[in-house]
């Protein structure tokens, strides 16, 4: 019997029993849709996590002096960092950017047009790089500016809009607490993941030295002090290793004895993000396992109905054998039936799964992605179920004795 005839035979037998076919396929449809949905949720979550883990915020460490430490007999009070600390950290392998900054929130900024409150920071050239910011006009602060304590600033585009209207601000004067600086460049506001509280898009950046000397003031204990350090690792860098090296540099620089607690703190969002990613991965495996189980149950349903079908059609099988059907003809007839039902249900299940993933695109909590790999995997599993669970009934049919089969009631 030709494969096409066999397929036609299988199809007509499914069509002759529409309700049974529908009910049987339901198990596989749900199974495939579940496997597809679960895998694509898993994949979506994975991509989301990867995106998070490669973002600037998740690759960053922020180092602060531990201001909560009290003076005791064993420990000195905490004190700010030095500019040289930043330079040492910048040289660690896998560090993309390291920047030290001084900060003064709620500073009054004014031009001829008006005034506003903004965040004023003393920074080095790495600062913009570490915040994922881009220059919109003019130039970034340079090391020469720091050396010369130049009275220049870079402003955020928010400041440009408010205080310069439509003018090109480059080279124009701007007053910070009534002290005059010259605008050197305009840049975007920093990554929103790094919070500055209010005034989220109002920023003025000056070279560390000029900010210290002209606005913020020096520190009695540390020359050229820095209030906080931000470190960004390369994508895929060894973050624990970087953190360890930062600790070595800091302990040496701050003269902390071996075994003594540090007087600074390193903040990293990476830890909880990695834990989060891991638990999401576990959840998606769990869901995929559930999908696989429903597929399995669907497969058992197919086997059950095929066994019933073989029993019901025993006389038909005997007749076909008497008419010259070979064992292989009978075998392929029933196998084709099981496969066809699984393939069709698999396709419908895929459609349902895809529909679900389209709906989920609008939702924030669930991220599903369409990938042909996942589609193939879930469809393939339906096919596999068809072969595995169709085999036993088909073999039983092919092994029937024609004489007994013809006598079957």
């Amino acid at each position: 019997m030709s494969p096409l005839t066999t397929l036609g035979l299988a199809a007509s037998s499914l069509i002759e029993r529409p309700l049974r076919t529908l009910l049987t396929s339901l198990g596989i449809i749900i199974g495939v849709a579940a496997v597809y949905a679960m895998l694509s949720i898993g994949e979506g979550t994975k991509r989301e996590v990867e995106k998070q883990l490669s973002s600037m915020a998740s690759r960053s460490f922020t180092i602060w002096p531990d201001w909560n430490r009290r003076r005791t007999s064993q420990s000195k009070p905490s004190f700010p960092f030095k500019e040289s600390d930043v330079e040492e950290i910048r040289n660690i392998a896998g560090v993309f950017a390291a920047t030290g900054s001084l900060q003064r929130n709620s500073t009054t900024i004014s031009t001829e047009i008006g005034d506003t409150t903004a965040n004023f920071l003393g920074v080095d050239p790495d600062y913009l790089k570490s915040g994922g910011q881009e220059m919109l006009a003019g130039e970034n602060i340079s090391y020469t500016d720091i050396e010369q304590s130049a009275p220049v600033v870079v402003i955020s585009d928010g400041i440009q809009k408010t205080l310069f209207k439509n003018q090109d601000p480059i080279g124009l004067p701007i007053k910070v607490n009534n002290i005059t600086f010259t605008v050197k460049g305009v840049t975007t506001a920093p990554d929103s993941n790094i919070s500055f509280g209010g005034n989220a898009d109002m920023f003025v950046w000056a070279p560390t030295s000029s900010a210290r000397n002209r606005i913020i003031g020096g520190n009695p204990y540390v020359r050229n002090h820095i209030r906080s350090i931000r470190v960004i690792g390369d994508i895929g860098a060894n973050f624990p290793q970087i953190e360890q090296e930062i600790n070595i540099i800091m302990r040496r620089s701050r003269d902390i004895k071996t075994g003594a607690p540090p007087d600074y703190r390193i903040f990293s969002s990476r830890g909880w993000q990695e834990r989060n990613a891991k638990s999401q991965k576990t959840i998606s495996y769990l869901l995929a396992a559930m999908g696989a189980i429903s597929l399995l149950v669907g497969g058992v349903g197919v086997m059950n109905i095929m066994l019933v079908s073989v029993t019901e059609r025993t006389r038909e099988i005997g007749l076909r054998m008497a008419m010259g059907a070979q064992k292989s003809d009978i075998m392929s007839q029933f196998l084709a039936e099981a496969l066809l039902i699984c393939v069709l249900s698999g396709l419908i299940g895929l459609g349902a799964g895809y529909g679900l993933s389209q709906i989920s695109l609008g939702s924030e909590e669930i991220k599903m992605v369409f990938s042909s790999k996942i589609a193939l995997l879930s469809f393939g599993s339906a096919l596999l179920i068809g072969v595995i669970f169709g085999f036993l009934p088909a073999r039983r049919a092919a092994r029937l004795n024609p004489i007994e089969a013809l006598r079957h009631e």
Binding site: G324, Q326, I403, L406
Partner: protein, 231 residues
Amino acid sequence: MKLPLIKCNDLTKVYKMGQSEVYALNGVSLEITKGEFVAIIGSSGSGKSTLMNMLGGLDKPSSGEIRINGENLSTMSGKKLAQFRNVTIGFVFQQFQLLPKKTAHKNVSLPLQYRRPKPDNIDASVKKGLEMVGLADRAAHRPTELSGGQQQRVAIARALVGNPQVLLADEPTGALDSKTSEAIMTLLQDLNRQGITIIVITHEDEVAAYAERVIEFRDGEIISDHIKKAA
């Protein structure tokens, strides 16, 4: 002297039932020539169906050999036997054995679906088959829409459609009334006149009367074998 189409030599069939053995056939030797119309009679359990299943390649003897067209059925592989059934034999059953959800046309085409290589004029052959049994106008009907006699005629058309050399009918009139039985037997007689060898199992003497040769079985053995004088 014509060469025998079917030649059975000392056939036995033994069924083991626990300790005891049942001889369904006990040393049957038989020759049937091409073109004969044979009736096999005998009481219930005498081995008629057992012999017929062996002639049709559905069963194998415990000992002895069957040759049809010189080929030994007892040593054929399952695959060869299936092909043999398809090409050489046409079966007619007491219970018709039609597929209830298929039309008469589909039912008749069944043997041709298993023919290798696939014949390219299946529809024409099926039409011809249905014409031979006088049911050309019922091709699209399902078995439930046909009378018993019509169903058996569809079954006969199915047995004939592959141009077999032998038609084996196990009580073909067993489920029919006497008038319909007559019609079926007349049909078989016509077919026999066109050259096909026919072997019919029956309980009824009226049915056996249509045959040229009557073989009687008792307890797995042939007890008589009469050939009627040609008219």
